[in-house]
């Protein structure tokens, strides 16, 4: 594998004039205002660091979800899926950091989730509070990732993918065969509900708030990362490793950092999942979920942090929508993935961006014709 492709997010902030006279006058006045304030004229492509609205976007997302989701979704099954969506989004964001931003294809995200789940279950069974066990889960995943990442630092794209695949296979065997740490046959049951500051999250509805908060923090961290120098270095290292290295970017360190960070997100997701469901099993974190996380990021879009969130939503709710075609589910997923990768390699998020560009062009064409 010589080149990795990651569709970049569509350039932001380039607004075209519409064909509507009143709107044009208004936008002209806006331009004057911007000039007087010393802002750059609209239409220039700005580096993402200027897009401060991204933080607001995260807050808006959390606010809208917090208001809309509990009101719209009232059934027990729906609430359950809602929680699952938030947790999978968290794991998906972790994979996005490794794959979308870092350009490294890691097969072992579910293994990291399992490490997080088992470590958290281990500490909680020894009487530690929930927050400590969740942190232990995340830290354990991070520690494993650090060792794996250091060992595979020199591996190129395909070798790295296969190396992490090896890690996930080793993980499966170890989890199901060692009984001290992971329970008999890798089953740990009877975990207590999560509780924080004296409040017990003993229902799906209660856990929703906890998970939404964690996901919001992860999204904020993601936006911060993308606006930081590390984010730019990661993109440079992803799109042209040799060039980035020549320019003095510590490519390996950036890769390692993103890998560990993504795995920590995965581990945290696994730990929360374990406490929420009350049990941990090897099969939970098997190949199906591995392919699932991959589907989430590719279908949602590997070029934006919102891709995994969107993709996780699709992955969680699609089986419900397709319940009439349950046996054809695998075929539908595969065919959908195939069509998506041909028609819109940048994912659902990319499709949205493209639709916006199309609308803009239609408006522009109307002004001339």
């Amino acid at each position: 594998m010589t080149d990795t492709h990651n569709p970049a997010a569509p350039p932001d902030g380039a607004t075209e004039r519409t064909g509507v006279p009143g709107l044009d006058a208004a936008s002209g006045r806006l331009d004057d205002l911007r000039a007087r304030l010393g802002a750059s004229p609209r239409g220039t492509v700005k580096p993402p660091v200027y897009g401060r609205h991204q933080y607001l976007g995260v807050l808006a997302f959390v606010a809208v979800t917090a208001v809309a989701a509990p009101n719209l979704i009232t059934s027990a099954e729906g609430t359950n899926l809602l929680d699952l969506w938030l947790l999978y989004s968290l794991a998906g964001i972790g994979f996005y950091w490794i794959f979308g931003l870092g350009g490294r294809f890691a097969f072992c995200q579910t293994t990291m989730m399992a490490v997080g789940a088992y470590a958290s279950a281990y500490t909680i069974e020894r009487g530690q509070p929930f927050w400590l066990s969740a942190l232990c889960g995340a830290a354990a995943a991070g520690a494993v990732a650090a060792v794996v990442g250091l060992a595979l630092a020199r591996a190129q794209h395909f070798a790295f993918a296969i190396g992490t695949l090896a890690v996930s296979q080793i993980g499966m065997v170890v989890f199901s065969r060692t009984s001290e740490f992971t329970g008999v046959n890798g089953q740990v049951t009877g975990l207590p509900y999560a509780s924080l500051f004296g409040h017990t999250f003993d229902s799906d509805r209660g856990a929703f708030w906890l998970f939404l908060g964690v996901l919001g923090l992860a999204l904020l961290l993601g936006v911060f990362l993308e606006r930081s120098p590390v984010g730019r270095e990661a993109v440079a290292a992803r799109d042209g490793e040799m060039v980035a290295r020549t320019a003095g970017i510590p490519v390996r360190r950036v890769h390692l950092m993103l890998y560990v960070l993504g795995s920590v997100a995965g581990g945290l997701s696994g730990a929360l999942l374990a406490n929420w469901q009350g049990f941990v099993g090897v099969d939970q974190f098997g190949l199906d979920l591995g392919i699932g996380i991959f589907l989430m990021v590719i279908l949602g879009g590997a070029g934006s942090i919102w891709g995994p969130v969107l993709g996780a939503g699709f992955y969680v709710w699609a089986p419900k929508l397709l319940s009439d075609f349950k046996e054809y589910q695998g075929v539908v997923y595969g065919a959908l993935l195939l069509v998506m990768i041909m028609v819109a390699p940048e994912g659902l998020i990319g499709l949205a961006g493209r639709a916006r560009a199309l609308l803009r062009r239609v408006g522009k064409g109307g002004a001339h014709g």
Binding site: M1, T2, D3, T4, H5, N6, F105, A151, L152, R154, A155, Q156, F158, A159, F160, I162, G163, L165, A166, V167, Q169, I170, M172, V173, V174, R177, M242, V243, L287, I291, F294, I298, E327, Y328, Q329, G330, V331, Y333, G334, A335, L337, L338, I341, M342, P345
Partner: protein, 290 residues
């Protein structure tokens, strides 16, 4: 001693199966630059098609197997047309994702067609065994080793001495230059996909009688083959064969004697160590290009 001989024969046969799987996707990788993640599911499909021909159509074992091999060559061509040809100009990651998607479709289709209950495919030589120094070696294992030796020999000949082999080597070295020299990419690519599919079917049919045929059957073998191919230096046929031998010996001998419970993980530990210590593989020199 008897245990050792039995384990050693098992290791050789396992290595031979991995080799068959590995040469299938390496051939494709050489000709088209694609790492085909659907190869494992092609193995499974080959096994199920043979089972269908033998059990449902009532064909004898050998013609039934041949039918499956031919059908899989056709499936290979279909895959080339559907999942590869429209994406040839796209970045490699896109094509790899497309093959993963194809793998999902194939696996789910087999599930719909045959259900998920495990099957047992009869071998062409029956269930007999060859007794050497007190150890029983199933005829099927002997057959696998012989067939693999023949296939690898033929492939080496094809690569070295035929026009097709020269074209494939040219494509592997430099696709653009090869195209400028008049190599017909489309034809070579379709041939390679067909051959790769046929090799997958062959591997699936040969190994299925020794184990149970279920939906995950081929995927595990493909992983082993990929591990061996990466360890041997990806794209290097000789290295892949040696890698497969290494994986087979480690899993069967070390796993058979010392670490019984963890036998399944041993090849992956070895693979991980190889990638960590020598990422370019044991038998490959590597130069980074812009």
């Amino acid at each position: 001693m008897a245990t050792f001989i039995a384990l050693f024969a098992g290791a050789l046969a396992y290595a031979a199966v991995l080799t068959l799987a590995a040469v299938g996707f390496l051939l494709l990788y050489k000709a088209t630059g694609v790492v085909n993640f659907a190869h494992g599911d092609l193995l499974t499909l080959g096994g199920f098609l043979a089972w269908w021909a033998i059990d449902d159509l009532g064909w004898p074992v050998v013609p039934g197997s041949l039918l499956a091999i031919v059908l899989l060559a056709v499936v290979g061509i279909v895959l080339e047309r559907v999942a590869y040809a429209p994406l040839r100009k796209r970045p490699q990651m896109t094509v790899i994702v497309a093959t993963l998607a194809a793998a999902l479709v194939i696996r789910a289709s087999i599930g719909i067609w045959q259900g998920s209950e495990p099957r047992r495919l009869p071998g062409p030589l029956g269930d007999g065994a060859w007794h050497v120094a007190g150890a029983a070696i199933a005829w099927q294992r002997v057959l696998i080793i012989c067939v693999t030796a023949v296939v690898v020999g033929v492939l080496v000949y094809v690569f070295r001495c035929t026009s097709f082999g020269r074209q494939v080597r040219a494509l592997a070295a430099d696709p653009d230059a090869a195209q400028l020299c008049g190599v017909r990419i489309r034809r070579v690519s379709m041939t390679a996909w067909a051959l790769s599919g046929a090799l997958a079917a062959l591997a699936g049919i040969l190994v299925a009688p020794l184990t149970v045929l279920d939906l995950n059957f081929g995927f595990a073998i493909m992983l082993g083959g990929m591990a061996a191919a990466v360890a041997g230096g990806f794209g290097n046929l000789g290295g892949a064969v040696l890698g497969c031998l290494g994986v087979g010996l480690i899993q069967q001998l070390l796993g058979g004697y010392v670490l019984r419970d963890y036998a399944g993980a041993l090849p992956y530990v070895a693979l991980f160590l190889v990638i960590a210590l020598r990422p370019q593989g044991i038998f490959k020199t590597h130069a980074a290009r812009l």
